[in-house]
């Protein structure tokens, strides 16, 4: 007769092998389930806590002018193409304005010329797409910290939500509410006040072109490409993004990608 200890060990071994076999056989249908998606969110939290604990306010690497990629691949939207946007392009964005509103004491509305008169930062950084490719570009823009300080944040401010002019209707949203195709992104104040987080209006020394997000885009270095929202029209300061579009804080986030895109 086998001892109790032997039996528990067999149960553990067979249970372990069975569990592993189940995971492998069922991986596809598990992927679609909410259980797995919730696990993924817990893992994202670990990654974010671990990275932020280790990185503090450290800067992303900055490169030399000779490192700038001759071809910087545009991705996502190449041209928003709406009547309104085409009108702005025709007028060289002379009547375009960036609005900053939400949990602020002094909502702002700034023209491109006004933005260009503010203190600026230029940085040569590497852009890493979630797909796997990388390119180096030089960006010039206004530090987001200056804009938010000027708008004077309320005590409960937590996120900066950026809404964009482009509409990528293609891919259906995943889980939660159906998200409309309007591109948007969000970052929290820790990233918003990082010295390399800028609202860029120039790339490689020239005004931002349409393919790369004219007239204004976000650069939040230390995160992947989909965070670098192009064609930004407004910055709303909120305490949560759960009520916006699909509720996950960004166009790609609503389609299953991580909100924390540091990896």
């Amino acid at each position: 007769m086998a001892k109790v200890k032997d039996i528990t060990r067999r149960v553990a071994i067979l249970g372990g092998l069975g569990g592993a076999g189940y995971l492998i056989a069922k991986a596809d249908s598990l992927t679609m389930g909410s259980g797995f998606q919730n696990v993924a969110r817990v893992v994202e939290d670990w990654t974010m806590s671990a990275q932020r604990g280790l990185m503090g306010d450290r800067l992303a690497r900055e490169y030399r002018a000779s490192d700038i990629s001759p071809f910087f691949k545009p991705n996502g939207t190449y041209d928003p193409g709406t009547d309104e946007y085409n009108g702005h392009v025709a007028q060289n964005f002379a009547n375009w304005r960036l609005r900053i509103f939400g949990l602020v004491d002094k909502p702002l509305s700034l023209s491109l010329a006004e933005l260009r008169r503010l203190p600026r930062r230029t940085q040569i950084t590497r852009h890493d797409c979630v797909e796997g490719w990388s390119a180096i570009g030089m960006w010039t823009g206004v530090p987001m910290s200056l804009l938010l300080q000027a708008a004077s944040l309320k005590i409960n401010a937590r996120y900066a939500v950026l809404r964009c002019a482009d509409n990528l209707t293609g891919e259906p949203a995943k889980g939660g509410e159906q998200s409309p195709g309007q591109y948007y992104e969000s970052i929290d104040l820790r990233d918003a006040f990082h010295p390399q987080t800028i609202m860029a209006y120039a790339m490689n020394g020239k005004p931002l072109d349409v393919a790369h997000g004219a007239p204004l885009r976000l650069r939040v270095e230390r995160q992947l490409g989909y965070k670098q929202a192009k064609y930004v029209e407004s910055i709303e300061i909120t305490d949560s993004f759960s009520g916006i579009a699909g509720g996950r804080g960004g166009y790609w986030e609503d389609r299953g990608y991580e909100w924390y895109a540091g990896i």
């Binding site: 032997d6 060990r9 067999r10 071994i13 372990g16 592993a20 995971l23 492998i24 991986a27 596809d28 992927t31 797995f36 998606q37 696990v39 993924a40 893992v43 994202e44 670990w46 990654t47 990275q51 280790l54 990185m55 450290r58 800067l59 992303a60 690497r61 490169y63 490192d67 990629s69 001759p70 071809f71 910087f72 691949k73 590497r126 890493d128 797409c129 979630v130 797909e131 796997g132 490719w133 990388s134 390119a135 180096i136 995943k174 270095e221 230390r222 995160q223 992947l224 790609w252 389609r255 299953g256 990608y257 991580e258 540091g262 990896i263």
Partner: protein, 308 residues
């Protein structure tokens, strides 16, 4: 060759008919797999923590390889250096092109290009042919989804990290790594002999079977090194981690080089796993796998002289 495997505990009379023998087979397999091996026949070969971490690691590797290939499909091209996009020449790529004879899947390595239609570059998924780096049956999930593959990848990357640290710290502390895996001077001198043994598919018996042979030790050390390399090259692709340890970028020659090295290390791990499994089968799979499940290993006896 017939008596290479372990002697069955539950030996039946020779004259029993084949049907009865067949019916008894599951019971014998069960005994073989879980029955205790006596101290005379064998010994306790693998400690509990090594066994547990081994199987967790194997599961992690399966999921990391499968989800990694799905992630790779989002941009199935490899470059060297800091940057690389569609405008740059990859040293390895999978893709599809239109030809007069219809779409063709290709695999490109340096200056060579191979037609791999149906498997690499262009293959069947969700009931229709489509451009797809690695085919559906190799990837996790089987359907193309960068977001979901990343979730699987990071989940198992974390598990692999903690599991690997547990294994390494325990193995250093218990001196398992130093005693059982690190090759001795005598081992190094025995390399040529061990190579010959492997070519002849000769496996150690008696006392020699109590230790790993030198090629086995080197293979295990190699795969431990590769897994460390996987973790480091993986982290080097993370823009967040680049801000933490920028020197990793220089160590691996840039972000795209790190991505390529990540891929090459994964391919070498796959090669290890294939050889590893072949060796397990050749050395007697039931005895080998039992030793990795409940720890007990039966020492193979040398039967070549019995027949004299």
């Amino acid at each position: 060759m017939t008596e290479r495997g372990p002697v069955a505990i539950d030996s039946r009379p020779e004259n029993e008919n084949w049907l009865a023998r067949l019916r008894a087979w599951p019971r014998r397999l069960w005994h073989e797999a879980f029955g205790r091996v006596s101290e005379k026949e064998g010994f306790y070969r693998h400690g509990a923590l090594v066994r547990l971490t081994h199987w967790i690691n194997a599961l992690c590797i399966i999921f990391l390889l499968g989800s990694g290939l799905n992630i790779f499909n989002a941009h199935p091209r490899l470059y060297w250096g800091m940057t690389g996009t569609d405008a740059d020449q990859p040293f390895f790529s999978l893709g599809a092109v239109d030809t007069p004879a219809g779409p063709m899947g290709f695999t490109q390595i340096g200056a060579w290009q191979f037609d791999t239609t149906g498997v690499l570059g262009w293959s069947m998924a969700d009931g229709q042919f489509q451009p797809r780096g690695w085919p559906s049956w190799m990837t996790i999930p089987g359907f193309q989804s960068l977001a979901d593959a990343r979730h699987w990848h990071f989940l198992f990357a974390w598990i692999l990290l903690f599991n690997g640290l547990a294994y390494l710290l325990y193995s250093l502390w218990s001196r398992h790594l130093q005693k059982d895996i690190w090759p001795s001077g005598a081992d190094i001198k025995a390399i040529p002999r061990s190579i010959l043994d492997h070519i002849k598919l000769k496996h150690p018996t008696g006392d020699a079977a109590r230790r790993y042979n030198v090629l086995q030790k080197l293979a295990y050390l190699g795969v431990i090194f590769l897994i460390v390399a996987m973790v480091l090259t993986g982290l080097t692709m993370s823009p967040g981690f680049n801000a933490i340890f920028p020197w990793l970028l220089d160590l691996f020659g840039g972000r795209q080089s790190a991505r390529s090295l990540h891929f090459i290390s994964a391919a070498l791990i796959l090669l290890f796993v294939i050889v590893h499994l072949v060796e397990v089968v050749l050395a007697g799979p039931i005895n080998e796998i039992r030793s990795m499940l409940n720890g007990w290993y039966r020492i193979p006896q040398d039967h070549s002289k019995d027949r004299e």
